[in-house]
Symmetry: C2
């Protein structure tokens, strides 16, 4: 089953018990925690080919929500079908398992990024990650990437106030390494961006990526 989503529309909510797993066919989706005071904390972003809620296979209730960041097309694959496939062919399961483990690695990096890096490096690091992953999936053209995030959403991902997001974006631009505006990320100097963001792609565990 396939469905279209509007920007900001939820695919799954905190507390739900999904019976099918989402597969991103187009667009970008994000996962987030809803805080007691209504604020959001975005946890990760996902692009074409990702299964952002594969965990639902073995965890009953959602501890976070998943929403579309822009217009997105999502396929839903019933859990029973997946489990049947896993039992028949273990290697299929191992591959999906591995994806969920890489997810976890991305979360770990986010802990470090948001806890230990100053805002400039933090933002640069997120841009590095998103660009690198998109590129590995063949989604980034040359040095640009469609990144449908508002400043508010960027702030809710990086744990910054919106004013800080704005000013940090300007500082980043001033380094000449990257330019993000109007939902488009343009990498001007990949090496420098990586240096500013202290980016080491090891944690993404991509087997082979053509050099940038």
């Amino acid at each position: 089953m396939t469905r279209q989503y509007q920007p900001n529309e939820d695919l799954i909510r905190q507390g739900d018990t999904p019976k099918a797993a989402a597969l991103v066919l187009s667009g970008t989706v994000g996962r987030y925690h809803l805080l007691a005071d209504g604020r959001r904390q975005y946890l990760s972003f996902h692009i074409v080919g990702d299964m952002p809620d594969a965990q639902g296979l073995f965890i009953e209730r959602m501890d976070h929500a998943v929403c579309a960041m822009d217009h997105a097309a999502i396929a839903f694959i019933p859990h029973v079908d997946i489990v049947r496939a896993l039992k028949a062919r273990p290697p299929v399961g191992f591959a999906i398992w591995r994806e969920t483990l890489i997810d976890a690695a991305i979360f770990r990096e986010a802990i470090t990024n948001n806890s230990a890096r100053p805002v400039l490096a933090r933002m640069a690091h997120l841009f590095c990650e998103l660009f690198y992953r998109a590129r590995a999936s063949g989604l980034a053209q040359e040095n640009r990437l469609a990144l449908p995030l508002s400043l508010v959403q960027l702030g809710d991902a990086l744990g910054m106030a919106i004013a800080t997001v704005n000013r940090t974006l300007q500082r980043l631009r001033a380094t000449g390494s990257v330019d993000f505006r109007d939902g488009v990320l343009v990498v001007k100097n990949w090496e420098k961006l990586g240096r500013v963001g202290q980016f080491d792609p090891l944690y993404l565990h991509l087997r082979k990526v053509s050099p940038l």
Copy 2:
């Protein structure tokens, strides 16, 4: 194979390619990122019964390190044996898979905790999590828990400077909800601690826990 570790000794280092998975038999271990400037960011802590590097099963190189927080006994189970068991009995694999998914949920919560909560709530939340998990494993006696962390380590987990850790600890004590000193956590008022830390245990996905 079983091995004893000294406090602060590494089980596995960033970059390693382990051939066996660690199982905690006694003590506490922690996972951490090593930053470029030598600082550490602790990502999670693990107690008896946990497999802190189950991810090594399907991910070649370690993107983080694992160390003993105090004296710890660790069993190592060769990956080949585990994979053989997985293929023979899929449900065994599903159970381990589920554990790694709960790991990921804990990481997600740490993102939110360190990014969106003020220091008092942040520390309270960590204490809630550790106590709740220990209790679910039958490791906490009554309302106390051995928690072999120094202030520096607490700070490296929560993204706080050591002076702030100290002062926040005192503020927490003043609330009358919890007291942590000399490696022992004493929960004085669980309900209040949960309120201060905005703690909701849903994300730990424990099936049944006797009420506190």
